[in-house]
């Protein structure tokens, strides 16, 4: 095999220069073969799946909390926000990864910001033109993706040091991990706060009096208005963290 042949050549090389040259070739060969690994190899799958559980950006790294409070009152905006963040993170990770050997390290944060901001504006403009109703729902929150610490965090921690494809996966994985929590929180807040899911009255219709109501409301059930307020998102996130840590002991820090 090519690899063995290279190995032999390294061993057999007589002069020091020749040895260095062969070693260089060997390193190049190995790094290129690494990029050629199966596009959904175990390592790559891990990039996608880790942020969904053991390395979740919200519940484990506790990043991106601010937007988790703001857009989780209803399910639908939460889902659209998730999609927008996936697009922005995947592409910003890819772009920064492509430029990683060109970016001057002293202004790298600014470069990352510019890339993210440009992508967010693009997403916003395209939504306004082709998905007007969705863009109205998200209103200011699309702009707030720029300030989402997860995006910057992944650029800084991953995309600057990894290949384009891996960075793409990392971006999608982390955005999805963020989105999953967003959707779970939104599910509970919309269900308990307004008795609806996607705007449908799943718990029955709430009339002005008990007689007018159907479903749970006819039994005297009341919506919990607290769930609509921002602090409840933190409490729901807290409960998710609790559940996650009791199921996965290794996430608990030593006291």
């Amino acid at each position: 095999m090519a690899k063995d042949k290279l190995h032999k050549e390294v061993e057999n090389s007589s002069t020091k220069e020749e040895l260095d040259a062969k070693k260089k070739e060997m390193i190049l060969f190995l790094s290129s073969s690494e990029e050629k690994e199966h596009f959904l190899s175990k390592a790559n799958r891990k990039l996608l799946s880790d942020p969904l559980n053991d390395d979740n950006p919200i519940t484990v790294q506790v990043l991106g909390i601010c937007s988790a409070l703001a857009i989780t009152v209803q399910l639908q905006p939460a889902i659209v926000m998730t999609l927008a963040v996936i697009v922005v993170m995947a592409f910003s990770n890819m772009i920064v990864s492509m430029l990683r050997n060109l970016i001057p390290s002293r202004i790298r944060i600014i470069v990352q910001l510019v890339v993210v901001a440009a992508l967010v504006i693009l997403v916003d403009q395209i939504l306004k033109a082709y998905a007007y109703d969705v863009s109205k729902q998200l209103s200011v929150f699309v702009g707030l993706i720029i300030t989402n610490c997860i995006v910057m965090g992944r650029l800084e921690a991953f995309a600057l040091g990894n290949g384009v494809y891996k960075s793409f996966l990392d971006g999608v994985g982390n955005a999805a991990g963020y989105g999953v929590i967003l959707i779970i929180v939104a599910f509970f807040r919309e269900l308990l706060g307004s008795g609806k899911l996607f705007g449908y009255e799943v718990l029955g219709h709430k009339g002005l009096t008990i007689e007018d109501s159907t479903g749970l409301y006819a039994l005297g059930y009341q919506d919990n208005g607290l769930m609509l307020l921002a602090p409840m998102a933190l409490i729901v996130v807290g409960i998710i963290i609790w559940v996650q840590r009791s199921r996965n002991r290794k996430l608990i820090e030593e006291a």
């Binding site: 857009i71 060109l102 001057p104 202004i107 470069v111 510019v114 890339v115 033109a129 007007y132 609509l228």
Partner: protein, 251 residues
């Protein structure tokens, strides 16, 4: 080239800004017509919604009034679009449809123009007044349509910039807007008071008391709606007085 040199850093920054700026400028300019069209269609859709046109007949079937359909059918229902001067005379030099209320509101009242739409649906005449005011976090706006007596509300539609979702944001919902239907904007003394959104209101179905029930947890947004309606409508009073014999509802 040394990637840590100042020259490289400057060149990189300048190139990056140039590239990003041209990409964004290109996208913004090329998408602008589509975006403007969306806004225009939405305005038309909103105006038609307030006079109860929420579906139109297409090939013999009733279809929901989507934004493109609203644009197609707008002229069918809206007979006149005029801009009024503060004294109630018609200002011919202004294109009323394109009047931007957010800009008008920054002018002194005697410099403002007041757009007004006159609709005819099923032989009934309606006056539609655009609204704009302030909620809790930012601007709120909408349209209110009045029946021929210039007193009874036919319908309203609201939108907002950044009211709290689930609280103030609920003003856009049908159940809230329905509360305005058939309410009167003049009180029993013939004074223009608009329709007030009242906290803890229990008047229920009384359509003559100029009051509707507020949304719990959205008192300030509700007050914003009340103020917006009375503030905007009062500027149309001279015109309405001229146009019709006022039939003020007295109990």
């Amino acid at each position: 080239m040394n990637k840590n040199s100042n020259a490289y850093t400057f060149i990189f920054a300048i190139l990056m800004v140039l590239v990003v700026a041209s990409v964004l400028a290109f996208t913004a300019t090329s998408l602008q017509p589509t975006q403007d069209r969306n806004v225009r269609q939405e305005t038309m859709q909103n105006i038609l919604f307030t006079v109860g046109v929420d579906s139109v007949e297409v090939d013999g079937k009733l279809e929901y009034l989507s934004r493109p359909l609203a644009e197609k059918n707008f002229d069918k229902y809206i007979k006149e679009t005029i801009a009024l001067n503060p004294d109630g005379s018609v200002n011919e030099s202004v294109d009323a449809f394109n009047v931007d209320l957010s800009k008008e509101l920054n002018k002194p009242v005697d410099k403002q123009v007041f757009p007004l739409y006159i609709a005819e649906v099923k032989q009934e005449k309606y006056y539609i007044v655009p609204l704009r005011g302030t909620g809790l976090w930012g601007a709120i706006w909408g349209y209110i349509s009045l029946k021929d007596d210039v007193n009874t509300v036919k319908g309203v539609i609201f939108d907002h910039k950044s009211e709290t979702a689930g609280l103030g944001g609920e003003i856009t919902k049908m159940w809230f807007r329905q509360r305005f239907e058939d309410e009167k904007i003049f009180d029993s003394n013939g004074e223009l008071v608009g329709v007030s959104v009242v906290k803890g209101y229990s008047g229920g179905g009384d359509k003559d008391d100029n009051k509707i029930d507020a949304i719990s947890g959205a008192t300030i947004t509700g007050d914003g709606v009340s103020n917006m309606i009375s503030e905007r409508l009062k500027h149309y009073l001279p015109y309405f007085k001229e146009q019709t014999e006022m039939k003020v509802a007295t109990k």
